[in-house]
């Protein structure tokens, strides 16, 4: 497996929201397969938008985003659900379905894919025990702590064995211990070859990682360091 192969590439990408709000301005960047990249910057810098362009929640105003050399903006909206199975997403607010148990939340991602019940009953407990929730899989989100909810969310992101995990402020709502646990899991996932894109403004986390850091400010990429420390002003 080539570590050097480009999996995501931004080519002159700009995103302008109505009212001439420029969120991203002429961004050129690529991410290689198997990389662990932290994307940092203040709130509103454009981190989330950058990530949304990858899983086609947003479409560039100009330029093009390529996923495995496939232009994301040109994917038919009908085929979007299939495309998204290549990308696992984790968010600050967990985005779990409140009326489903941990098991059901993860299973849902397989159900929509039309996978057999036997497969689901085998794979879901497996992935939940990987994130350390084997014994709590029949609890509802409100019965779980923030860190546990985020681990359910992570399990769901992993269930399709995606090539890329996108984590948008996954530790934003978590205490330091739970945050560390999530980062540890992300690193573990990355060690198996999955590309991880982590948006955060937690200085401590990024410094400890010692991995590639991309700094965004005002919709532009200001710094891009390999194995560097993130220096917040």
């Amino acid at each position: 497996m080539s570590q050097e192969e480009t999996i995501i590439r931004f080519e002159n990408v700009s995103k302008v929201f109505p009212g001439d709000a420029v969120i991203l301005a002429d961004v050129n960047i690529s991410f290689r397969s198997g990389e662990f990249v932290s994307i940092v910057g203040a709130s509103g810098a454009g981190k989330s938008t950058l990530l949304k362009l990858i899983y086609a929640e947003e479409i560039p105003t100009s330029g093009e985003v390529y996923f495995s050399e496939r232009p994301v903006g040109k994917i038919n909206r009908k085929h979007l659900p299939f495309f998204r199975r290549n990308i696992g997403t984790v968010f600050q607010d967990f985005k779990l379905l409140p009326q489903k148990t941990a098991f059901e939340n993860v299973a849902y991602a397989l159900e929509v894919d039309g996978r057999s019940t036997a497969d689901i009953n085998e794979e879901v407990p497996e992935i939940l025990s990987i994130v350390g929730l084997g014994r709590k899989m029949h609890q509802f989100p409100k019965q779980l702590s923030g860190g546990e909810q985020q681990r359910v969310s992570l399990a769901r992101a992993l269930i399709h064995r995606p090539k890329v995990i996108i984590a948008d402020e996954p530790t934003g709502n978590l205490d330091p211990v739970a945050s560390e646990e999530i980062i540890r899991l992300l690193l573990e996932i990355n060690s198996f070859g999955t590309t991880v894109l982590l948006a955060t403004h937690n200085k401590g986390i990024v410094d400890k990682l010692g991995k590639r850091v991309v700094l965004i400010d005002n919709g532009r990429i200001i710094e891009d360091h390999d194995k560097s420390k993130y220096i917040l002003k």
Binding site: R77, K78, A109, V112, D113
Partner: protein, 304 residues
């Protein structure tokens, strides 16, 4: 969408239905109430129609003939009247002997009366024919024709005039109830549709954040939508059952007041007679309403 996925969306809808608890209860209450009002107004409308029909059937013209008119003559008049099939529903001949028997049995076979009749020595009652019209508004015409007929001189008396006012009122009541029933029924159906649509819209609004999540983890629009359509169908189905229970209870309590008022029996008998038809209609109406409301209400939350 294959059958496995369809089955899953059904289970999903069923699960929403059960886990939503309070919202499900509210939706079903409102839908049941609407369906209940509509079906009750149908049943009451039918009742008033049947009660009037029953009363009309008891209405008749009694034509008594002079004592010197021979039986053959009366029978030929009877046959002549039977020919007017558009106006005359039935003509029954009651001979003097039959009239006496009937009189004695109606007076409870009182020996005093029987003796009094015997003392007269002769049957004091007249032979008569009982005419029933096809429609109540035809009685007037029939009476007029009898008065001008070739046998007008054979007639001793026609006891219609005294009932005339009652007949007229009956006609008016019948027309009014039918019109009011139609208007009220349509109004209630309209209200039921509006309330149900809005309730389901609120239900779906409360789920709006989940649609985004579902799509994010790879659910297609139809996969997001189908559970709500099934949920809507379940609302319709359960509400229909609840309505039937309400109707049974209400019928049970109304029934004693309607004994014998209709040919079919009382209100409970009427309800039982129509129960299956009402249930099917309610299910069809409720399920259609639920399905369409859900399908329309969810559209705005699903991007193309």
């Amino acid at each position: 969408m294959n059958t496995l996925k369809l089955w899953r969306t059904f289970k999903e809808g069923k699960e929403n239905f059960i886990r939503n608890g309070w919202l499900t209860f509210a939706t079903i209450s409102i839908l049941s109430l609407s369906l209940f009002i509509v079906s009750l107004s149908f049943l009451l409308g039918t009742t008033s129609h049947l009660v009037l029909q029953n009363m009309r059937e008891k209405v008749s013209i009694n034509v008594s003939f002079n004592p010197d008119v021979p039986e053959e003559r009366i029978v030929s008049i009877q046959n002549e009247l039977k020919g007017y099939t558009k106006e005359v529903a039935s003509v029954e001949y009651i001979s003097r002997e039959d009239a006496l028997k009937q009189f004695l049995s109606e007076s409870g076979n009182d020996p005093v009366i029987a003796q009094a009749v015997q003392e007269i020595g002769e049957n004091p009652l007249l032979a008569s024919i009982v005419i029933k019209a096809v429609r109540p508004d035809q009685y007037e015409t029939i009476v007029e024709s009898l008065k001008k007929s070739t046998f007008q001189n054979d007639i001793s008396r026609i006891n219609y005039e005294k009932n005339k006012k009652i007949f007229e009122r009956l006609n008016r009541i019948s027309e009014t109830t039918q019109r009011v029933g139609l208007i009220l029924g349509s109004l209630f159906i309209f209200i039921a549709v509006l309330i149900t649509f809005n309730t389901i819209r609120i239900t779906i609004y409360s789920h709006r954040q989940e649609f985004e999540i579902m799509r994010l983890v790879g659910a297609s629009n139809i996969y997001v939508r189908m559970p709500f359509v099934f949920e809507g169908a379940l609302y319709g189905l359960v509400s229909s059952v609840v309505t039937m229970i309400f109707l049974s209870v209400v019928s049970y309590y109304i029934a004693p007041y309607t004994n014998g008022a209709m040919a079919i029996g009382n209100f409970m008998d009427l309800y039982q007679h129509y129960a299956f038809f009402i249930f099917l209609t309610l299910v069809a109406f409720g399920v259609t309403l639920g399905v369409f409301s859900s399908a329309i209400a969810i559209r705005r939350y699903l991007k193309a």
